[in-house]
């Protein structure tokens, strides 16, 4: 089971895994529906947890609206029904604290090139709860071996007694090396402090939007409530694609997401409140001067 708002790559992966089992994804992958196309209700997810569900993969934070799912509650409910739960933590790692072990989340994965600043194509993260260390990796390789056994070169796989067992081949050293320096900063600053500033930044951004951008047809597409709000804000507008182009022209780098979303992520470690102020001021200028009309309302290849 997954949800209908999740990142497409996760769905493709799950569909192909089902196919490898000889199962038709259109019948065997359940995608929980969103009531409004933006948010998910935990109650709706739980309502779908029936005896036909074997495994659930959900985002920690939705990549568009930025909604945080109640991971603890969902994990508890799934386990009560004997279902495995895993999370895609791409948009939450480095922004909000997590308690995966405490909540007994079965597994999780995430990228390190977003909030963790590991660089383009940085290697990813993988978490497996201790109680699953004895499981055989579905995709095994020699780097999943016990360190002292790996170079024995035996044809019997002796897996590491850790999440390391789920490694496959030789690690991409140069694509992970930047993380070392970056993680040091997270340890030093403390994730609680980072979360606190991130909330202040997003709250400030929303306050400014409300005070300065009224009457231009914008809609805030992110949760107002702190406990539900991740590290970015979605601003919806029918002209979003070309408003983003106009912003770029003004040296402000937003992100456009289909079909009508401007995604703004003020980052705790390097975005200043004055930059947030400036961003909204420029948005106002773009709307007042209809500067977006100089562009086509279509995205480029990426954004």
């Amino acid at each position: 089971m997954a949800d209908e708002l999740t990142f497409p790559s996760d769905i493709y992966a799950l569909q192909s895994q089902l196919r490898l089992h000889g199962l038709d994804p259109s019948a065997h992958l359940v995608q929980v529906k969103s009531r409004d196309g933006k948010f998910l209700e935990e109650d709706d997810i739980i309502a779908e947890m029936n005896e036909d569900i074997a495994m659930i993969v959900l985002p920690t934070v939705l990549y568009r609206s930025g909604q945080i799912l109640d991971m603890e509650r969902l994990t508890k409910e799934a386990h009560a029904r004997g279902i495995m739960v895993g999370f895609d933590a791409c948009h939450s790692v480095g922004v909000i604290p997590h308690l995966f072990d405490n909540w007994e989340v079965d597994f999780a994965f995430w990228c390190n090139y977003k909030h963790l600043n590991g660089g383009p194509g940085c290697v990813a993260g993988l978490y497996v709860n201790r109680k699953h260390f004895a499981r055989k990796p579905g995709l095994a390789g020699w780097f999943g071996s016990r360190k002292d056994k790996q170079f024995d070169m035996e044809h019997t796989f002796t897996q590491a007694n850790s999440a390391g067992a789920f490694q496959i081949g030789t690690p991409h050293i140069l694509s992970m090396a930047p993380l070392l320096g970056s993680l040091e900063m997270f340890a030093e600053a403390g994730i609680e402090h980072i979360r606190k500033k991130s909330l202040r930044l997003t709250q400030y951004l929303m306050d400014l939007i409300q005070s300065e951008l009224m009457g231009y047809g914008f809609e805030i597409g992110s949760p107002r409530h702190e406990a539900k709000r991740g590290g970015h804000i979605i601003l919806e507008h029918p002209e979003a694609a070309r408003i983003c182009k106009a912003l770029k022209q003004e040296a402000i780098i937003p992100d456009y997401r289909e079909p009508d979303m401007i995604r703004l992520a003020p980052v705790a470690l390097y975005t200043s409140f004055q930059e947030v102020y400036e961003t909204v001021k420029v948005l106002k200028k773009i709307m007042d001067g209809r500067l977006y009309e100089n562009y086509e309302n279509k995205r480029g290849i990426i954004a």
Binding site: D10, Y12, F39, D52, M55, M84, D88, C90, V93, G94, P97, F100, F107, F109, C111, Y113, K114, H115, N117, G125, L126, P137, L139, A163, G164, F166, I168, P171, H172, A177, P178, G181, S182, L183, E184, M185, A189, K197, L199, Q203, Y204, M206, Q210, S211, R224, H225, E226, K228, A251, I252, I253, P254, D255, A265, A268, L269, Y270, S272, F273, Q274
Partner: protein, 149 residues
Amino acid sequence: MGRGRDLQVKNSGLEGSGENMDINNFMSTKEYAKTLDQEDPLVSYREEFYLNPGMIYMDGNSLGLLSKRAEKSLMKSLEDWKKYAIDGWTEGAEPWFYFSERLGELSAPLVGALADEVIMGGSTTANLHQLAATFLNRELAGIRFWRMN
């Protein structure tokens, strides 16, 4: 310019009005933004990043910016390659043979995991493939999805 609490912009957010923030003296002035920066305990980290002058980067959740410390640790691994060649796997600033485990250990607090529950490697989608291949199988996931046939 005034207080921004009136919901003039249509708000489709979930419950709550965001009133629970500690920024409750909101003012839409530039001075207020400056005050917030002055009060920011993390402000010094900004200097550790390569920021393009004149550019405001609001896309850190697609690709985060390069920090000087990240650059330095990358250069160290390059130096180790230069100096130790094959022996870089076990020698040097950060022996490569244990690098994934080491980064896993350092990331564990960010996800609330034990040090050995996290490993760095592969890519996001590839890791999901690994996990789905591990957790979705007949013996381990039970007989559930076969029953649906």
